[in-house]
């Protein structure tokens, strides 16, 4: 199993941010994490990245528990936040040098880095200070840093923000390629079209609760069987406005 979350709770004092979320993302699967603002998506991703401490529950990356073996678990992980903050005084290539050293990449990583620069059209920005890059460029650098060490689990929080159309296409292709190569991916996004295009599974969070977790194929079958002709967008609004309607389709994402 690449990513496993069991009974995850997160409280901030008396405020419950996430309540009893459980799911599994197997190698090759892409899970779309969707929900309104404040639903607990980023909190869940940050906990999986080891930044936030869960109040209760168990989180595992590549079968390693984040609570007991954090370093091994994080070695298999790439986390790209919604607003990636880079080291302002370092160039793009120096970021790669740091990543290569941090994840102990074998000699020859430079070729992979060059390929990523080409893929994300950053070759000209190789020696530019990241503080001088645009928002979209910085996003691309963060994505390349995440991909460079070839993680087995990738967490992407709003990955398309700031990207141009070509960047969006490259990003989508890169996620699909990695999933095809056996990487488990979680994408948190408000763009339902992205989720519909790219994801194999969806998880809908609302007020910190898991209101739907299923595969898109199953969901389509179920919706068709019920004769509802519903798009993902319509389903999303139905779930987040009247979440009790979800009970028939809460399948556990098998």
């Amino acid at each position: 199993m690449s990513i496993r979350v069991e009974d995850y709770h997160k409280n901030y004092g008396p405020t419950v941010a996430v309540e009893g979320v459980s799911f599994v993302v197997r190698p090759g699967e892409i899970l779309g994490l969707i929900g309104p603002n404040g639903a607990g998506k980023t909190t869940t991703l940050r906990a999986l990245a080891g930044i936030l401490q869960p109040t209760r529950g168990r989180l595992c990356i590549a079968d390693h528990d984040l609570a007991t073996s954090p370093v091994v678990a994080k070695s298999a992980l790439a986390y790209i936040p919604d607003d990636p903050r880079l080291f302002d005084q370092l160039t793009t290539w120096e970021h790669f040098r740091f990543i290569a050293s941090a994840y102990r990449l074998p000699a020859g990583w430079q070729a992979d880095a060059e390929a990523l620069l080409t893929q994300f059209e950053l070759t000209e920005k190789r020696d530019a200070l990241t503080s001088e890059l645009s928002r979209g460029m910085r996003q691309k650098v963060a994505i390349c840093c995440g991909y460079l060490h070839q993680p087995s689990a990738v967490l992407l929080d709003e990955p398309l923000t700031g990207l141009d159309p070509r960047g969006i296409r490259t990003m989508k292709n890169s996620v699909a390629q990695r999933a095809a190569a056996g990487v488990a991916v979680i994408i948190s996004s408000h763009l339902l079209s992205l989720v519909e295009d790219l994801c194999t599974h969806i998880l809908v969070l609302h007020h910190g609760r898991q209101v739907l977790h299923t595969s898109l194929a199953e969901l389509r079958q179920q919706v068709a069987a019920e004769g509802r002709h519903e798009t993902l967008e319509q389903l999303f609004f139905r779930l987040t406005e009247t979440p009790q309607d979800v009970l028939p389709v809460e399948t556990g994402g098998a």
């Binding site: 004092g13 930044i51 370093v71 992980l77 080291f87 005084q89 370092l90 503080s131 840093c145």
Partner: protein, 549 residues
Amino acid sequence: MPRALWLLLWLRFTGWFRRIGLNLRTVKGLLLAVLGGGMLFLWLGSLVVSAFLPTAQGPAVDPSAVRQYGPLILLAYCVLTSAFSAGERAVSFSPGEVNFLFPGPFSRRQLLLYKIAGTFFMSLLTTLFLTFVLLRYASSLLTAAVSVLLAMLFLQLFAMAAALVASYAGAQAYNRRRRVGLVLLLGVLIFGLFQASRGLGDLDFGTIAGELSESTVVYVVLSPLRWFVESFTAEQVWPGFVVNALLSLMVNLGLVAIVLGLDAQYLEAASAASEKTYERLQRLRRGGAAAAWSAGTGKVRFSLPDLPRLGGVGPVAWRQMVSATRGLKGLFVFLLILGLTMVWPMFFTGRNAAEAGDMPHIYAAMLLGLSVFTLPMMLTFDFRGDVDRMDVLKSLPLPAWRLSVGQLLTPALMIALVQLGILGVLQAVWGGMSMYLIAAAAFALPVNFLLVAIENLMFLLFPTRMVAATPADFQLMGRYMLLFMAKFCFLGLAAGMTTLAGAVVYVLTDSHVVAGAVCWPIVLAVGAALVPLIASAFKRFDVARDTPP
């Protein structure tokens, strides 16, 4: 510590030099850096000369005084660090570090070691400056440099240990305990001050400090801190300096052991604190010190009524006034500090005008002078605070001069109100300030308008952020140097013209009121004369080229 974290430290260090080099590529950048660097060189040079000249006759300052007050100063710093750590129960990490290191394959202890190593290298830089500043209090360059480095490390490690102990103790309990502790501490302080103020006429600060240091509890608490000061003032390398420096080193190693031993779950608190600090820094860079303390979040409790349009000046000024009133927290903190510095010496001075003698006038001049130089830099509710909104300002359908007037009014008005408030307090305490109050009521607004106009003109000609982008930012120092020179030139011109005209009128009419009435439009005219220059500079400001990084 993993090799990768050493590499990161090295890359950041070289990146810092590269950043300084990049800033020197333009003529303007070079000019400002030369000016700032020159100023720094002269300042450091004067410190070195003054420190080395008296060494033939021994230290410039009595070492026993340093030994008496030094540990108390270190203790005060530690107490303040623990009590007022801005609610951030965390070791400080930059947003980049949070993004890359926290999800990276590093243990919490490794990250703490990385922070300690980074702290050590930053302390080396600070030590370089502080050694020269404090050299006159030490017995030699060696004892000063080593002891300052050890003390700097101690302060950093103490803050880190305090943050981790707080994390370990748990947020809720710690906050409650800290609040209760603070209230108790304040109560004890106020009671102590009240008791002490009864007999202050008989005791000086040295006696109070001496008696305090000799009490058993304080003596025990101060013992480890005393080693730092003893090594600083040691007259012999062996045994005085070596023994005390080693003992200080042991204290620091003990703190490192505590930090690593606790291994508290600090990542979440550090991440939240980093976010908060980053946002505050961004506000500081955008809008100066007052904006940094302003409420970035929270419920809006009030708004201001619309001002008359006045050809567009009104709405522009209204927008700045709304921002300023929502950022009053920063100004309040500043005034509180200023107020405390005012109140304390009042205990030593007579409580009425007759007993006080010239003190009220000295205070009035001192505080007004302070307000003239500090408040225009703090209250940046004008073009300086809009550095990231210049494109919006340029798109407004207003002539540049009207926009400029609207932008300058708010800080000028606020500074005038603060100055009148200061004089009002002095009047309430001592009396005898009525003439100052009348003069300030008449002149504060035009004089402050002039000051703010100079600040804005310099900003538009040499756009720079309110805080340094990197440590040792020579360009920012250069800009401040230039700003002070320009301020003195314009103020000298305005003051010279006004004084000359006022003196002539006073001689002819023998009336303060008539002389004042003649001076007033002159000050206003000098300020108004700057408006077209500011408008022109605003029009020439190229958002793409001139917006500072």
